[in-house]
């Protein structure tokens, strides 16, 4: 907890920059991995998916302020994400095989 509103504001601003840089670094690494093909494809694919997951969490949790919002926001959105994963997996399996 910080004292003055100014200090709190500065801290928020710094946090947002950190998130931004984290996302840029993850993106650059992802692109670099794909362009150079430094690792076997399976590993690159796994790393890419993990990076995407981290970016989604950072963005939703900090930029969309789920960390400070009402619990109901996160519950509804989590439900939506759960349904989303089910739908995409179901379609994938149904149409592909």
């Amino acid at each position: 907890m910080t004292g003055s509103p100014q200090a709190a504001e500065r801290q928020h601003r710094r946090r947002y920059w950190q998130v931004m840089w984290a996302m840029v670094v993850l993106t650059v690494i992802a692109f670099a991995l794909v362009i150079t093909g430094a690792l076997p494809g399976v590993f690159i694919a796994a790393i890419l998916l993990a990076f995407a997951a981290v970016q989604v969490v950072l963005q939703v949790y900090l930029f969309m302020h789920l960390n400070v919002g009402r619990r109901a926001y996160g519950m509804f959105f989590g439900m939506g994400l759960g349904v989303a994963v089910l739908i995409s997996m179901a379609l994938f399996v149904l149409l592909r095989y």
Binding site: W17, M20, V34, V56, M64, H65, F77, M79, L91
Partner: protein
């Protein structure tokens, strides 16, 4: 209350009823966003399963230009940051700074759309069109709908800028910026998934 989860808003809502109405609006928007998750999930699932259904020699993998995708990603990512800055400025009651950040956000969104239109016209000129194969239809449906979302967000932000701040920053319009911000960040989240699953994965062997 909307802005007060994190720091006090410049003008707190005048009545408990108003605070509640604003809160419900945000809750409603989160429910809408969960519906959007399902919408994009259907398109992504369809794309993933039709991925290999190509016709002829023009494939997505041969067309994708990663530096262009990288540039699009960068513009959308930074527009998310500028949206957050607009929100911070709004919370401090700085109307002018908020407006400038919102314009920068809109500009970055417009750059993204412009690059996407360039990309699509290039693809179509190369014979990769909505009707050329199942994989191409799924690609254009997914990425095109995302582009439409960006275009709608652009329209939304600009109309906020033009119509909503004639009386300065008020409790009524802070929640509008908050919700537009949620939408914009969500569109960015979807792009993170699209550039990973569609663009980068095509190039992984």
């Amino acid at each position: 209350m909307i802005g007060s989860h994190e720091m006090p808003a410049a003008h707190p809502p005048v009545s408990p009823e108003q605070a509640k109405a604003q809160d419900n609006r945000v809750l409603g928007f989160w429910i809408f966003l969960s519906g959007e998750c399902a919408f994009f999930a259907s398109l992504i699932g369809t794309y993933l399963s039709l991925d290999t259904h190509t016709v002829g020699t023009v494939t997505l993998a041969s067309l994708i230009d990663l530096p262009l995708t990288g540039l699009m990603t960068l513009s959308l990512l930074s527009s998310s940051l500028t949206m957050v800055f607009a929100f911070l400025a709004m919370n401090k009651g700085e109307l002018q700074a908020m407006k400038i950040w919102l314009w920068v956000t809109a500009l970055l969104g417009a750059i993204f759309l412009d690059l996407q239109i360039f990309e699509f016209t290039h693809y179509m000129a190369s014979g990769f069109t909505m009707g050329s194969s199942a994989s191409a239809s799924a690609f254009f449906a997914l990425v095109g709908f995302h582009g439409l979302h960006v275009a709608f967000g652009l329209f939304w932000i600009i109309s906020l800028l033009v119509y909503s701040f004639k009386d300065g920053i008020t409790p009524a319009n802070t929640s509008k910026v908050w919700i537009a911000g949620l939408y914009w960040h969500f569109v960015d989240v979807v792009w993170v998934i699209i550039f990973t699953v569609v663009y980068l994965m095509q190039k992984v062997h």
